[in-house]
Symmetry: C2
């Protein structure tokens, strides 16, 4: 797997938050039901995003979480780095320590190209872009429902 499950959940939640008006806090409980992720587990993941400065959180009634920056300024890369860390972008395909630069393995050139393409994809996808695509084509974020359902839910 390219991304850990926690990371995938974090991405789904981030995209969902980006569909919302950013002036109000969204309770994690409600969000977890909408995007079909266990409440407690999602809470843990969002705690990481909050700690990394991607989300604002607020306790108490009318509390919840929201994006700390506009959706146009948050990329998938930000979320992946916050949850899975930089390993995906620095680690060796053959798992040899101290890699790439001085003494590469035979796979290095090809792998470095592929790694760049992954990096490129993550950096070039802002939450705003994904929400717009989702809205315009009614794509889905859950097993069943499309975007319309999310926006009105």
């Amino acid at each position: 797997m390219l991304l850990s499950k926690s990371c995938v959940y974090g991405l789904r939640a981030s995209i969902y938050l980006a569909t919302k008006n950013n002036s109000e806090y969204i309770p994690i409980k409600k969000m977890s039901e909408t995007i079909e992720i266990s409440h407690h587990f999602l809470t843990k993941i969002l705690q990481q995003l909050t700690a990394q400065g991607l989300l604002d959180s607020y306790k108490g009634p009318n509390g919840g979480v929201r994006l700390k920056k506009p959706a146009s300024e948050i990329t998938l890369m930000d979320v992946v780095l916050a949850i899975d860390g930089p390993d995906l972008l620095t680690e060796c395909a053959l798992g040899l320590p101290g890699c790439g630069h001085q003494n590469p393995c035979p796979l290095h050139d090809k792998w470095a190209t592929t790694r760049d393409s992954i990096k490129q994809m993550l950096e070039s996808s802002s939450l705003e872009y994904l929400v717009e695509r989702g809205k315009s084509e009614d794509l889905r974020l859950t097993n069943e429902g499309g975007f319309e359902k999310l926006l009105n839910g």
Copy 2:
């Protein structure tokens, strides 16, 4: 991580076997010492490759394993499929079941492109190609040593 650790070990071992004259069997014990992977664990992994028809094995003195086909006809994709299975190439970036075709998520187009680039890399790298690159530039397959050491080991 893109590939499981077992898969990475399998790749290292396959590349190593491709450096050898394919007429003799290489004992796993010796190989495990050369490429610095636990003997028993490597045995398990190579059993899978044997079961999948990528390796020949032979018991008893002068036994061991060797590639079943010429190194030019085995790609990294073959090894990855044998050990990690096809998940990497079929699975969703957002982990939604029943994916891609009829009802994609907003990430699908970009992800499909990246996935193709991974697929392309794995399919276009034959063991022979890697060994040639390794030989000509004395690249490494272990933490320390380069190819010269492997060939003469």
